[in-house]
Point group: C2
Chain length 243, copies 2
Amino acid sequence: MTDNKPALHTVLSPALLNLYDIDNAIVVIIDVLRATSTIPTALFNGAACVMPVDSVERCIELGKSTNGITAGEREGKVIEGLQHGNSPFEYYPEFIKGKVLVLTTTNGTRLLHMALEKGAKHIVTGSFANLSAVVNYLIGQKQRVILACAAWKNKINIEDTLFAGAVISKVKAYFDINCDSSTIAAALYDEAKDDLYAFIKNRRASHYMRLSGYGLEKDIQHCLITDTANVLPLYEDGKLCIG
Amino acid sequence: MTDNKPALHTVLSPALLNLYDIDNAIVVIIDVLRATSTIPTALFNGAACVMPVDSVERCIELGKSTNGITAGEREGKVIEGLQHGNSPFEYYPEFIKGKVLVLTTTNGTRLLHMALEKGAKHIVTGSFANLSAVVNYLIGQKQRVILACAAWKNKINIEDTLFAGAVISKVKAYFDINCDSSTIAAALYDEAKDDLYAFIKNRRASHYMRLSGYGLEKDIQHCLITDTANVLPLYEDGKLCIG
């Protein structure tokens, strides 16, 4: 029944990651609003690399040592002491080309480090902005995959689940998927795919409510468009570079 | 926007329960295959009460002191030292009437005790077997609700998520639901509702695979039928009785 296809699992919250065998798997970190949408955008527009860090202090420190741009937001505002925010729109080519972006995010970075500690073989980041790049990579590698949603403070969210579903809809013929969370993600995507933005808005996704309260609807719409920055951010030695 | 409606949240795995405010909420314990399908069935068929316990030792002990029927399965077989299994079909009226059923289950009982420790105001059990009773109770109480899925060893499962979605589809006008897990459950149910059994079978739900491997397809089909045992098991002082 498996035809020797590699397994694929979806983890809908970082709090569930320890239930899965991460060792030697390819892990896709998913944080659609907005870290893993901004990361491929910066790379696509010419950034030398993106360094994801989990604290403001580390962000400032690495910003100095790499002569990089420091970026991060909390509650929709640029963090004091940093230079830029989390919006993909900030990282246009004329600004980011050739530069190092040091980005502090909460949910996504923490999850990336968890996957690293648990022995992931390769870590990449995924969002609608680079859906095809992720899909092509996973199909090509022919190895066990974990789609890891960053969620919001461990609470499952719609947008990351939707992206997992989008990936599954495109790779399912190549993997053995016996995982209820994957089925749930795929079903959600099936229901929403004709208009992701309308689905999220109408269903009042909690993160939509939070970000739209900060005036970030334009970011949300952009983060749901497919292949706007179709490169593969691959993590190695503390950096995400085009893989 | 809330119209003073009480909030409803869905918790898709016991591992996520600590992210939610359980204190003083009504908690619905959901373990469709098969604990919370068997519990209302036994009560509907005349059991005096059901005592859910989390260990075989405690089950045997309580079975003796209450002169009750001890029941529990692991891997689809009756546990050594106990008398009966977890199938709703075992608890027909001629057998169960007037008796105490002491039932040991893993996922559901543990979750019930967690909800109790976190200060739940009322705890009830829900499954398709008593969908209407649960829905009517929640609408009538007008209090904050947590739909708590027992899952499988903390891994999210389809059948419990589907039941949460079924409840939401019927109570959503009465609650303020700003919870992505609830949205996901409702979307899954929308997609599956025309034929729950076909959905679970076709999507190869992990628990379906496990139970059908033990020859329990008949149980699975039965556990997806609505209102076969339409009573409300309400937990108090270690017992579930009709509320």
